[in-house]
């Protein structure tokens, strides 16, 4: 028997674009530009306030190119509390990422493999953090655990479970989408029939094939943590966001500069996620196992 050849894909010449389609494309671009303008103008205003050494009353078109400087940001970086706040935020982000993956991946796999009919219910549960305001969550948890587990609230890492819950609507969906994209049951069964236990199946078969969704989930958690203020403020932690808020009292320009920087970093993370998910997908990414 000879091996079957893979049929080369036929090359199809692109059809000329009809006028209706062209108009649709133009309209789409107009819409995109309008939305970008809506978002970019406030950001530009923010950037000018933060990075131009020009009195606010004089910020107009005529001074658009004047006296741009990173002084405000440097002052923020020089603040003795900044480094500590940033480092705490990074640790909280890493902790939340790890806890998210440790909880969500087995949960989502379990739901897919054992109780697929409950997928809708679990999805609904994961959006609960959307409808419960962060303040209600924190106050509720404090009320419930203050007496039984006071150590929990004195730890600087007590924010990690809150952030994990807060990020759940995004992270669960990212993992769920990854699991839907692969034939989970067959891969698990194939691996088990080859002699692999659950540990090997998870780390040698599933994780490499879920890499994109796991990265997405982790980055989304990081963006949520880096941008969160309410919970940190309520629990009295000095994270990047609470530091920024405090810094506003002393250095409004520096605080705006930090806010903008956080926005750039989180947007960068999301862009990275988009870039990774635009690749051919996990299935096509070879991995050394």
């Amino acid at each position: 028997m000879t091996a079957e050849a893979i049929e080369p894909e036929a090359v199809v010449a692109p059809e000329p674009r009809p006028a209706g389609k062209l108009a649709g494309t133009v309209l789409s671009w107009v819409f995109v530009l309008a939305v970008m303008t809506y978002f970019l103008f406030p950001l530009l205003a923010m950037a000018r306030f933060a990075f131009q050494r020009v009195p606010t009353v004089l910020l107009g078109w005529s001074t658009l190119g004047d006296k741009w400087t990173l002084d405000s940001l440097t002052r923020a970086f020089d603040d003795p509390q900044f480094g500590e706040a940033l480092w705490l935020s990074i640790r909280l982000a890493l902790g939340a990422m790890i806890l998210t993956l440790a909880l969500m991946v087995p949960t989502a796999m379990w739901v897919h493999l054992r109780i697929p009919k409950a997928r809708g219910l679990v999805e609904t549960l994961t959006v609960v953090p959307y409808v419960v305001p962060p303040i209600a969550l924190v106050v509720g948890v404090i009320g419930a655990y203050r007496d039984t587990a006071p150590w929990f609230f004195t730890s600087r890492y007590s924010l990690i479970p809150f952030y994990t819950v807060l990020a759940m609507p995004f992270t669960y969906r990212a993992i769920d989408a990854g699991l839907r994209a692969i034939d989970l049951r067959t891969l698990v069964d194939a691996s088990r029939s080859c002699g692999a236990g659950w540990f090997t199946t998870t780390f040698r078969v599933l994780v490499p094939n879920l890499r994109v969704s796991l990265l997405t989930s982790a980055f989304l958690t990081a963006t949520v943590v880096l941008g969160e203020f309410t919970m940190a403020a309520l629990l009295g932690r000095t994270t990047l966001q609470t530091f920024t808020q405090q810094f506003t009292q002393r250095e409004p320009q520096g605080a705006f500069a930090l806010g903008l920087l956080t926005l750039v970093v989180t947007t960068g993370l999301l862009a990275l996620v988009t870039f990774l998910t635009r690749k051919r997908g996990a299935a096509a990414i070879p991995a050394v196992v």
Partner: protein, 355 residues
Amino acid sequence: MASTLTYQAIRKTFAGQAAIELFDLAMEPGELVSLLGPSGCGKTTALRVAAGFEQPDSGAILVDGRNVVGTPPHRRNMGMVFQSYSLFPNLDVSANVAFGLRVRRVSKADQQRRVGEALERVHLSHLANRYPHQLSGGQQQRVALARALVFEPAVLLLDEPLSALDAKVRVNLREEIRRLQLQLGMTTLFVTHDQEEALSISDRMGVMSNGRLEQLGTPREVYAAPATAFVARFVGRINELPAEVTADGITVAGVRIGVAAPNGAAVGSAVTVMSRPEDVRVHRPGAGTNGAALAGTVVSEHFAGATSLLRVRLDLLDVLVDAQRVQQTETSEPGHDAGDRVEVVLSPAKVLVVD
């Protein structure tokens, strides 16, 4: 050394519904047994119970006499090929095949040698560095077969491995599976809904319906002597004629067909006579049928290469009867045209009578 696989009174239910009921099957070492049946008959459940992916409610699965119920799938040492392409997308062909050896901690050198041999067996050595998405469906299933065989499992389980492939590849691959199975002497359970597959590659085949094994036998036995009406209808094409039990035997439309009444059948009771198209002879009227013929008119003749299928409408029953005839040779009777008057004769020795 090939192993035995035995099902003992296996019962498996899902949400109170029995998927398989009192399922018994004893496979000899090196035997290929097919489980054939329509969708939902329980054949895949039976296979998954053997693999350990489903736990039976009761009964035992014995491998070489040892009950493996309760043993997790990865400790059963059974190779399996699935209906959907089950290669690990993140691994190339050789790493996929080596997977079972890796988890068994086989030395690198041994892994390399055995992977090479396995790929050689399925004629895919030249594609060892390809990834699954770079292979055709047939190639993927051959890699899956190599992966299932490379660690020398006690039993090979094949869950409709050909159903996602196109017709030509399917025929090639089933011959490949049979060749490898015979070459390695591997005890193999093959689940399929395609009767041609089951008939062509099995040592024995079991026909399943509603979670039960209706008949187990060699393909010839199952085809030629179906144990139940379901088996007769499911395996191959068969004619069904309403008949009656008389003191002289079975009659169809008042014509004695030379078949004795089944034991215990009451005179006057209605039965159904079943006969394969190749066991039905069609003559021109008065061609020496000794009165056991049913008169009818040719409706059509469907040419199918070496044979053709003649469709006849019986005069007295308004029933269509299919008769298969070998294509005309120099010595055989000339063919028939639509509208020709004919007589249909059933072969008494091969008629099945059911209630």
